[in-house]
Symmetry: D2
Subunit: 365 residues, 4 copies
């Protein structure tokens, strides 16, 4: 018997809206099928989840332990709750995903206060950390306990291993722990051509949210504890955070597909390369301004609002800043050269059309 | 290229431990593959999630709206939070999953007080509800707001449509809402040979946690609002409860596989039939006492502890009550007649072996 | 200049409703006035709060440390949060104040799951504790961490020092901590004629909620940590629980008035003696049944509902169980012999009047 | 019998550290004594609390309803929780008390996300509100629901009635509610010479935290609902927030003392006048720079760090910004002209001594 479900979408349609618009990598679906059939112990006591530990240790060192969860918000919240007592707080960039994109989950279900810092590029430095790292021992101030950074950042920028080391050394010197939101860690490592541990374990990161979904999983992220002394109660926090999958084997085997070979690297490189290709192509278009360094798989650019609107009739993407007209073009792991080239051509066409219409106007020739 | 993941388990091994030890139904994996490829809007604005609404309405009526989440704890907590103000409380059986199997998630992340009631069979009645439905308007008492029942119950028993109606009418008469934990609703409907709506919408249930995982999904449950006036803020509660899947199409299409045809019914019937078959087989064994009515897919029985231990070397299952020696044997959707017969034979063998060893002893002949 | 406030009540009117209907002991108001004038460091860094530590140590031993808070709910919630990680749970009698009289505050603001146990007399025993002390290490079960008892209990019964020792030894043997809700600890100690530490420190209690309000303060309770290893983060938990008084000197000096001399003992003895006097008086009335042991300052009795209603026109008190007609008569610290005798006479009158009316009826003659 | 408590402090010592270093106004203690004696219904159903409603209505209009709580953090958190669903957020100045001085209580026990805005003077404007008032309907963003302002602000600045009106009109136009932290509202009204309602009810404020402690109470703040449609569940939220006083009469009668006559105004004026006197005195001292407008009862000034340290050996006060040497001098309601003059003289002495020592140095001559 075959499924009653039907295909409802055109798999030839791509977008530049978000890594999450992509589907799953075929190898990941294949892995799910491998893990199917027969019975396995539920709730994470299965052979796939057990085997996963060795795979994570290979990437992140002998002390690493991975706890799969369902999504990135959960990986961050479970990580931070495991690092903080209920009265402790988290220093993060103002632009951090935990601060602006999680609907307030850290506060609402975690009771965590965030201490945001304005940054030029989405990255914290020792000096920026100090803007919020004070008031230790003062009951009137939520006690800073964790510094949380993202790599790649929400602005498409990267920390080098040395920059992360500097953050970790400064944080540890203040008695703070370091959390890394690595929903795009594979992109960062691929871009910098370093192993995953160079940006995490070896740089001093204590707890990592390791992203799988954006890299081609159906779904799955992992809380990865690199410093066992830095996190407490994760099995209970994961359960009470409603993140314990009953048929965990299906989440774990996806990570095996991603990490036991080089799928993570292939996917990270592809996404990054497509962003670089896209940036080069649109940089050459008069009327498009690339606004930020393109280091991973995001391209930020300024284009006229009317161009953006018309382009959106052909491709989905998001406006980043309505005030300035800045847009964000994300390249998912499954974007091809042909897709980039077609999109860049569409940008060029729409800009050209707009310039033709507005020639003689204030922004025209 | 093929996945680097490897099969690590023997798909011929079955158990009687939990519905969650089973894998996914092949039609469900097929559906996931159908939904793959190309780009779809993330976070639930995809065509599969949209199409799912019509499918749920077909089963649950024109007002039904389904909100997929990751697991059963989440379906329950999101449902209850959507029904309760922060100071309101939930009346439930002492044996309810929300009370004993969710690690305290309703309290820890929902801040919800549960008002448990001891029951003979895991079921509430109007009279049992009244044991906790009091103190309205008294600030010293957490305000009862919801009555939460499960069908099938955690004890394998069933509510008939009339019994649910009686609960709903009584609750509504007191100004209370009714939540139904339907992680095994398909089993209940299959056993009673009624449509899903007979046990929910038509009986007066306000909000339903509809279970998919135990019925053969990789993962997926749904908060189903039947009475739109009874639930508030679900989009926000789902997000802040860390239950919003980015690649939602893959959760939604699994529900399509389950509900657009009769897969839910086939799987529910199979599990139930196997439990009935098992109950009949072990009932005939001297030394095994079936302790509860077998109405859905669970068999509770009392066997000597030593028999249980030896049997467990061959098949996994759980002891329900260590004091009385009661064990629980769950039949998942994928249990076959052959598996049941083999297991029943194993029970008979171990009981016989134990009787031989203990003959002349206090429990022997 | 004199205050614009006006006296709005008759200070000659007494009741038997609650210890909290009483006002403040004159010595307490005198102490507040002593502490007034000039400036003192806010938020607890004042000389009165400092001096209080020595006073508490005198009563509770060298390791005791007291943290004043505003009310009893707060003393309990701050104590329990300091003893529990966010996923841990509290075993308590079903009748515990934390379970039935605090509006769900432990769950709502503390995220704490309570594990209630039915008891005959409001008291836990090792055997009763075992009904909930299980599932250690199982993520599906909220992890039992604290046993919470009250002395005197909400049913007016008492634990002896040996009974508390038995609870503590059993709890500690299971790796659990013991919290004592001592909102009426002074009544208990007065009744048993033992020092406060015999019922707490010396019996093995880890953390105490020490009640002041019911003993004659304007307001004030104290979290008293007896075992420093058992509680964490109290300064921060007190602050975030909104229990840090800015002008703390005024709370602390009230405790000094209560505990530096024997005011606590005088007030406890008076309340207890009046309950005993009342019990003896009503016991002699045909038609009144004293339903529970009168060990502290509460008298529980069964009287006809119509008698209760008429009596309530003259004196306030609460019905404890509407089903059985059981009422509760609390004797506050300020109840006098004359007040008791007048009330007992009123009971006798109303019973007699009711008997006269119903003579010949089923309950008469 | 007289109290065993002893006076432990010198009532002639004053400070410029905080309004909370002051004690209680004698009229307030007198009021407490008036309310003492006999029995009153507990938990707010007493005649003093009832009478208080009329007094608040006189100041704040016919719809006003006051709910006394213990402290300012609680007044703010209960107000905001009553205004927000669990997923909603609060726009406030970065310097707001709720953001920087409450230990994270809004997040920790309220689960509330704050959306802070940098301001030049601690005040929000429509344009500043817009920096966070966006993303309505987007589940990824904590939904803005309340604008919270303080008057007087934490920087000693004031909003005029028109400025508050502008904030309220803008907020209401966006579908937002307005909360006013009025821990020093009496100072603001006294300084602006307007009735309390001009800054609240008449300007469009929905819910007010009205401060009593800083104005001379022993303790007591009030949640004052001005727009009944804007707040939900306050009785339950107050209880579960552990803010329901059992002997409420003693909190309520203090507010009666403050508000039934003009004590609030006398105390506000005195504090303000002393700040103005102090500012004038120190302004005249070469080496002291008054850094902010002195509109209420706070003086901010820059003095050499060594001068601050020496001065602190004689008077307590806080450094506001260690980087710039800015200090804060608060004038409580009980500060006298003599105290101000003595303090200003001390400032002058220490500055002069420092100048003498450092003459010839880089900052001298």
């Amino acid at each position: 018997m075959t499924t009653n479900a039907v295909r409802r979408h055109d798999p030839a349609v791509f977008s530049f809206a978000s890594d999450n618009y992509a589907g799953a990598h075929p190898e990941v679906l294949e892995a799910i099928a491998l893990a199917n059939g027969g019975h396995q112990v539920a709730y994470g006591d299965d052979v796939y989840t057990e085997a996963l530990q060795e795979i994570f240790r290979r990437h992140f060192g002998a002390d690493a332990r991975a706890w799969p969860v369902f999504n990135g918000t959960a990986a961050n919240v479970v990580s931070l709750r495991a690092m903080c007592a209920p009265w402790e707080a988290v220093i993060c960039p103002e632009t951090a995903h935990i601060n602006v994109d999680e609907g307030g989950a850290p506060e609402v279900v975690g009771g965590l206060k965030l201490l945001p810092v304005a940054t030029p590029d989405g990255k914290l430095t020792p000096a920026l950390i100090d803007r919020q790292a004070w008031g230790f021992g003062d009951v009137h101030r939520a006690q800073p306990r964790v510094v949380s950074i993202s790599n790649a950042t929400e602005l498409g920028t990267l920390y080098t291993p040395d920059e992360i080391k500097a953050v970790c050394e400064h944080a540890h010197g203040l008695g703070l722990l370091v959390h890394l939101d690595g929903s795009r860690l594979a992109n960062a490592a691929a871009a910098l051509d370093v192993p995953l541990r160079a940006l995490t374990t070896d740089a001093g990161v204590d707890v990592l949210s390791f992203g799988g979904t954006k890299l081609g999983l159906v779904l799955g992220e992992a809380v990865v504890v690199l410093n066992p002394a830095a996190a407490h109660g994760i099995p209970y926090l994961r359960k009470t955070s409603m993140q314990l999958a009953s048929k965990m084997r299906f989440v774990s085997v996806q990570f095996e597909a991603l990490l036991s070979g080089d799928l993570w690297l292939r996917n990270g490189r592809q996404a990054n390369a497509m962003a670089a290709r896209l940036a080069a192509a649109v940089h050459a278009i008069d009327g498009v301004e690339v606004t930020r360094r393109v280091q991973a798989n995001a391209v930020f650019a300024r284009i006229p609002a009317v161009v953006a609107d018309r382009l959106r009739e052909r491709y989905r993407f998001y406006t980043w800043d309505p005030d300035t007209g800045e847009v964000r073009w994300m390249c998912a792991f499954d974007i091809t050269e042909a897709a980039v080239d077609a999109f860049a051509a569409a940008v060029a066409e729409e800009v050209a059309a707009w310039r033709a219409e507005t020639s003689g106007g204030p922004q025209g020739g």
